[in-house]
Symmetry: C2
Subunit: 183 residues, 2 copies
């Protein structure tokens, strides 16, 4: 089965090595990892409007060709996960393909939302903070639970990992493979 | 046709009035607006784990019952749109139901990403900023363009609106209704 490896990993300075390491971990658990990066690097430069549409089309094609998603839901430039990753997560749920996800961050969404408010105040007063003890907006763990039958994989020791650490990813892949009956 | 009115509007202090105003605007353009708030208010209090799952299930049911999405993609607590809204946007694209969206913010995603980095530094150095002159991560305008055939509706005068302003929403609804052949 092919797993779409969604995440802000594509923005890492060592994105290619990161993708290769993730694909290797997938292989060890019986999954074929597909990283969107692979195709981005094949797109030649050009006008921005041509480039982004080419990347988008390539990503959608790769998503269509994959059987499941394993999403890096580590918060990215704000209280929540990366925007592109969240669109992809929803797409897989809409397509009724299995959805799995992990986060390297141990802090609750409510805590991160408050920290974000403290750093960059909300534009209007008294906007609520969602507080259900979850790792992100309820639609995110909801999508993972409904789509794959598991919770978002979080650091089991409650310690936030470096942004590019892969040990929580590996736990997630192992759980997904078991859930899918591959191991 | 029923339009799912996704957005962080549910967190506004005047969320009920906001939802009513949006539904009225939809009606003026031949659309039946459905705001997720309607159902949230019917869910009784209880343990957080029961409450969020009840809200999630209600939202998914409402999404299933709707024919299209009109998403408020105004940035929310970070460089990008609200996380729940993005999952819903992807879901509608995955289901091949029409996708429309708007933002009250006139700043580019690259500018907002840099501002976010300045306020809350990235956790590791040299993480790239996506810079295609777009209003959000390319998956967001890509989903809107592929799903509904239009761009994300932005302030035509280049002036950012208050977070809860509805004039850009109304332009978006009018464009969506035309695109769907309702007007």
């Amino acid at each position: 089965m092919k797993a779409y490896l969604a995440g802000p990993d594509v923005f890492l300075p060592n994105a290619a090595q990161n993708a290769a390491a993730k694909i290797k971990i997938c292989a060890a658990h019986g999954l074929i990892g597909k990283a969107p990066l692979e195709d981005v690097t094949q797109i030649s430069t050009g006008p921005p409007a041509d480039m982004w549409r080419a990347i988008f089309r390539k990503d959608i094609e790769m998503m269509e060709a994959c059987d499941l998603i394993i999403a890096n839901l580590t918060p990215f430039r704000g209280a929540s996960a990366d925007a592109g990753t969240l669109v992809e997560l929803g797409w897989f749920l809409g397509r009724q393909k299995p959805v799995f996800g992990y986060s390297n961050c141990a802090a609750l969404f409510s805590e991160r939302s408050q920290a974000q408010q403290a750093a960059v105040p909300d534009l209007i007063a008294s906007v609520a903070v969602e507080d259900f003890g979850l790792p992100d907006n309820l639609m995110v763990p909801g999508a993972v639970e409904l789509g794959g039958g598991l919770s978002i994989t979080l650091p089991p020791d409650g310690l936030t990992r470096p942004f590019d650490a892969l040990d929580i990813f590996e736990i997630c892949v192992a759980q997904a493979a078991r859930r899918l009956g591959l191991t």
